[in-house]
């Protein structure tokens, strides 16, 4: 049997870990939601914050350009370039990517994955075009979902334009289409929980996890370590993303990971 005698395997090393993703919201080249890190010369610099999160144990970094206006593209690409230079964990960039050319510029600046949202809704073939050139693993489709109550019960509607615009599309159905067009991961944000600190929407997360075989990153509502435990256990998320939690209730990703470990959630540790 090739290889078999020398591998102890299974019991000791047997766990794909749950990923903790730190998100930097950037406007005009500056991180707008501050993060409570010590010893930073400049708390608003995306490159410094990305490096600090990585050192503290973040499994991935997402940089989201929340302004994404035409004038800010050059500033963004410069921030991506500087952040990517010393970052040796996966690095995703989203916000304002509307074409293969936009994506190419971001990849050339050093991103490993791109995240697309409104542009994918407007032109679902964009998912395929970017995936064919850069691989499916490099294409994250971000889905902003809002709970809708009707006589038939609850479902989730996809919002576009940063959550402002109702699309009439069912979130579960859109996730299935995104996967079939070649999305590598889904970044799922609950519009109902986003910014509330009340916890992730585990029901939404579990519904999306059940609808797709690609990894699902839960986002929106993180307020404390227990919320991460719950979204991994009950929501069965593959990864969880948070931005501002590290500002007001936790010092670092490391502190969160220690809590997750204590709760029996597999995480990369030490990191």
């Amino acid at each position: 049997m090739p290889g078999s005698p020398c591998w102890r395997i299974s019991a000791a090393y047997n766990m794909l870990t749950k990923r903790i993703i730190a998100c930097l919201d950037v406007d005009a080249g500056r991180v707008v939601k501050g993060v409570k890190f010590l010893n930073l010369r400049d708390a608003g610099d995306p490159a410094e914050l990305a490096a600090a999160h990585s050192r503290a144990g973040a499994d991935e970094i997402v940089l989201l350009d929340i302004s994404a206006t035409h004038e800010n593209r050059a500033i963004l690409l410069d921030a991506v370039r500087r952040a990517a230079r010393e970052l040796f964990v996966p690095f995703t960039v989203g916000g304002g990517i509307r074409s293969l050319e936009d994506a190419a510029a971001v990849f050339d600046a050093g991103a490993d994955k791109i995240s697309i949202n409104s542009a994918a809704l407007a032109d679902p073939a964009l998912i395929t075009r970017i995936g064919e050139r850069y691989g499916s693993q490099a294409v994250i489709v971000a889905v902003d979902a809002k709970r809708i109550l009707s006589d038939n019960g609850a479902h989730w509607e996809v919002r576009s334009a940063g959550g402002r615009k109702p699309t009439g599309r069912d979130a579960i159905e859109w996730v299935r289409e995104a996967e079939s067009r070649g999305a590598g991961e889904i970044l799922l944000t609950s519009m109902d929980r986003d910014g509330t600190r009340d916890g992730f929407d585990c029901e939404l997360t579990a519904a999306v996890v059940d609808a797709t075989s690609i990894p699902v990153i839960a986002s929106g509502g993180a307020g404390g370590p227990q919320h991460f435990v719950t979204v991994f256990r009950e929501g069965r998320a593959d990864a969880a993303l948070a931005a501002s939690i590290f500002h007001f209730s936790l010092n670092s990703v490391a502190e969160l990971k220690q809590e997750l470990r204590a709760a029996g959630v597999p995480v990369r540790w030490p990191c």
């Binding site: 090739p2 290889g3 078999s4 020398c6 591998w7 102890r8 395997i9 299974s10 000791a12 090393y13 047997n14 766990m15 794909l16 870990t17 749950k18 990923r19 990585s54 499994d59 990517a84 230079r85 010393e86 040796f88 964990v89 996966p90 990849f107 050339d108 600046a109 050093g110 991103a111 490993d112 995936g131 050139r133 850069y134 691989g135 499916s136 693993q137 490099a138 590598g184 991961e185 075989s213 690609i214 990894p215 593959d238 990864a239 990369r268 990191c271």
Partner: protein, 196 residues
């Protein structure tokens, strides 16, 4: 100079960035002449095994096999490692380099595919590529197909059963995971290769 071979399959910036960071001269190239003159060769790759057929038509394959015959150190990453095996069921008509025996296969149905994220290595003693990387180290994977365990396997990972996470024989090295995205453990491996 280390040649990072570009065959239009994915993004090579991250690999170059990591090699630059380690202080070794490297260049991204799709020119067979440059590959022939390189001191070391890295073939990264993401996406579909079929993309490796671009290596055949561009003359890169013969430049690479020539270099391998001359004992030039070679490192295949992700699909680049899978290409070092004979074939993959992802693209049955496309032949790999075949420097390692066997065929890459899809993950079994009982586990979610793709396998994306940080998972642990079990490392075999004596690997040159993995010197300084202990068993239990975490590295970043993203793939749906995997290589079998072979005599040349120097690190395995368990996800739906054990598979080859790294392979090594003489001057030939492969990693299924992304060393350029695997923090300090990954940089250690890249440095081990670059220093050969």
């Amino acid at each position: 100079m280390i040649a990072i071979v570009d065959y239009r399959a994915g993004n090579l910036v991250s690999v170059k960035k990591a090699v630059d960071h380690l202080g070794f001269a490297c260049a991204i190239t799709s020119d067979p002449m440059v590959v022939e003159r390189a001191e070391k060769i890295i073939v990264p790759g993401v996406g579909h095994f079929a993309a490796t057929s671009a290596l055949d038509s561009s003359g890169l394959r013969s430049a690479i096999t020539g270099a391998i015959d001359r004992q030039i150190p070679f490192f295949g990453i992700c699909v680049g490692m899978q290409w070092m095996f004979a074939a993959s069921e992802e693209a049955p008509g496309v032949s790999g380099l075949g420097v390692f025996p066997g065929e890459c296969a899809h993950f079994p149905q009982e586990v979610k595919a793709p396998h994306v994220g940080w998972n642990q290595l079990e490392v075999k003693d004596g690997s040159r590529l993995l010197r300084g990387v202990p068993s239990g180290a975490f590295v970043y994977f993203t793939h749906s197909y995997r290589a079998p365990l072979v005599a040349e396997t120097v690190a395995c990972c368990n996800y739906g059963g054990a598979f080859s996470a790294a392979v090594e024989r003489e001057h030939l090295f492969g990693a299924q995971f992304h060393p350029e995205k695997s923090g300090d453990a990954g940089l250690t491996m890249l440095e081990n290769f670059c220093r050969l």
